[in-house]
């Protein structure tokens, strides 16, 4: 028997999707249709959900499980395994700063400090204007641009602490 996602309860501790966002679930359902022919495509399905909602809401996990015919537990397991998926709403700009050895030697700690100072929040938190969050992550493979960071998927580097105001200014003005 098919279980429709709307009949399922939100898992404890997680906010249900706001009413205004629910129509997007139908968009997601449409986007999932071609993936049904591609076994093992849960990562692509989750990217689709995250693109629509900025995160992976519980309802999307249920929907993906239902459409791709895989256990909900497996979808949830995949979300929590990979660092690029978020269970919480994300701001438009996620800045991922490399903290590994090469960037560290090239001054990543100072870069991270400058970003935190300029945004007024520590890493992992969203800035008061709701537009930025800084994540400190494993090597991004941008060691030729050390110290490096990604703005969503756009490469930046070398980024020195002095470059931070301009970088954020460009993004605030939509030039990023």
């Amino acid at each position: 028997m098919a279980i429709h996602h709307t009949e399922l309860e939100t898992p404890p501790g997680r906010e249900p999707l706001p009413e205004s966002e629910r129509p997007k679930l139908e968009t997601l359902r449409e986007q999932l249709q071609p993936l049904k022919d591609l076994p093992g495509s849960s990562i692509e399905a989750l990217y689709a959900a995250q693109e629509l909602f900025s995160y992976v809401p519980p309802e999307a996990i249920t929907l993906i499980a239902e459409e791709l015919r895989i256990p909900e537990s497996q979808v949830f397991g995949v979300v929590t395994f990979y660092t690029m998926f978020s269970l919480e709403p994300q701001p438009p700009y996620v800045l991922r700063v490399c903290r590994d050895l090469s960037c560290h030697l090239a001054g990543a700690p100072k870069l991270i400090g400058a970003l935190e100072k300029e945004l007024g929040v520590p890493r992992g938190h969203t800035s008061p204007d709701g537009r930025f969050t800084v994540e400190v992550v494993s090597c991004l493979g941008l060691c030729d641009k050390q110290p490096a960071l990604l703005v969503n998927l756009d490469q930046h580097g070398p980024v020195m602490p002095d470059d931070v105001p301009d970088l954020l200014g460009d993004l605030r003005n939509g030039a990023g």
Binding site: S42, I43, L68, F81, D100, L101, H104, S138, C139, C143
Partner: protein, 432 residues
Amino acid sequence: MELVVTRNFGRPESWTLASYREAGGYEALERVLKEMTPEDVSDLIKDSNLTGRGGAFFPTGLKWEFVRKDPKTPRYVVVNADESEPGTYVNRLSLELDPHMTIEGMIIAAYASNAERGYFYIRGEYGLSHERVKAALREAYEAGYLGQGICGRDDFNLEVEFRRGAGAYIVGEETALFNSLEGKRGNPRFKPPFPTNFGVWGLPTAINNVETLAAAPAIVMNGAEWFKDLGIGDAAGTKMYCLSGNVVNPVCVELPLGVTAREVIMDHGGGVPEGRTFKGFKPGGASSAPLTPAEIDASLEPKSMAELGTIMGTGGVVVFDDTACMVDAAYRDALFFEDESCGFCIPCREGTPNLVQICERIMHGQGTMDDLDLLEELGASMMASFCGLGHFAHQPVRGAASRFRDEFEAHIRDHYCAAGTCFTANGNGRAG
């Protein structure tokens, strides 16, 4: 010196099919399909001594032969572009600047392995690579290099699916990558059975690194002897070495496999910044134990690195000068492995945070000489880990503690950090 895998990097729009063809691209595939049997191809690659550039250095031709000889079908060919080893960006450059060379290598691998399906798996963070490879795969389909009846041979088909990861170092481990392709958590699987017999979906799979596949077309065109002669001594072919850390030029250079670290660091990297002193280097990413300036004339190839108690790894050379603290450097690697351990097996899940804690104690003046012994003991326990991550995670820390013993002891006994990064107000705050 003749370039193999980076030879097109300087060409205008080098990532397009038009540019690749102008440079002789896909001629190797056409030659293979016109003149060679799958056996001929795997024999040629075996004769060339091409080995896995991802860091394992397994003979590539042998891998393709194993897959071909397994009767189960469909067989798969997988491009492992989950490059995530700290200090390594060689695959990223190939994917961004010359995706067709890897795709041509992939098709040749599929022919030699008698595979009819493939995946091109790229780590989630490589956005530009996704775009370039997706576009290149489209071009290759349109030109008839992929799909059904490749280059007019109705007995040779290859359907390739593009896939991306979503942030997980461990997925670079081949069996973890298969789980990821199957839509599961990227935990590694037990080996044996090996991928050549039991790969993605439990079917025979030839999984190769980008740089390995990219070398195949040139070997077809120029022959096994030519490729072998490109390397130094017993080492065959070239390797992309990439530099980072305290080095003047953090660049990637393709050089004969087996060049000395001196040539890579000093001649191509320009050494350490002016006014600083060269202190050591890691030969191949986070997993490799660091070496000292006395070892700078060692050959960067698997055998000599193993003799020195470290590994050749990915060719990601990280350079240290006197502003780098080797305890701190070990700590950074420990943090990386702690973060990236998948948590599936106990020796790795528990061992990696222990490595972090030992480094932290030493950096904060709470370390004892017993900690250095504990490190050895911990390393031995971690060898019981399920996969290579746990087997290698302790090597950089133990390696640093043995080769840079004085520095570790100075931290423990005298609370002294020569680089001046520890025991200061904001020197060694945990950055991540």
